[in-house]
Symmetry: C2
Amino acid sequence: MATRITLHYCTGCNWMLRSTWMAQELLTTFDGMVDELTLKPGTGGIFEVWVNNTRIWSRKEQGGFPDIKQLKQLVRDQIAPEHSLGHSDKPA
Amino acid sequence: MATRITLHYCTGCNWMLRSTWMAQELLTTFDGMVDELTLKPGTGGIFEVWVNNTRIWSRKEQGGFPDIKQLKQLVRDQIAPEHSLGHSDKPA
């Protein structure tokens, strides 16, 4: 099954730059493991991260933004549970 | 109809960073006009830009990369032909 990550972010809150930064981090860390990474502009303070049809982060539910190490662990747990993240595997 | 831009780039050629930079430029210039922008890792020297099902750039056919002004004109011509790009509307 193809692996698709989606970063849904609020444009009015100026979150495009941090979302594209996170995209760069994820595309680097999971090089060869991600088929598509989609940036999805939104409104109303939204910030969500999806891996295929599973939402792994919701600003409204979890409050704020994930630390990049935490985000990588959450993505890894979905797409390659056995894949070690090296330094990023220490507790967030 | 939703507007989806896809940047298909070769990871082996280290083109992820320039692709995410172009994504930032397009998401800024066409704020509110793009529903999704997808980064699609590939191989073999590929660099293509699609707007929905129309390919607007192919490195193999057009040779090299588009100048950012040119890329914005090509995207604009697909999604909002009447939309002025200001400075970016001068000839590429």
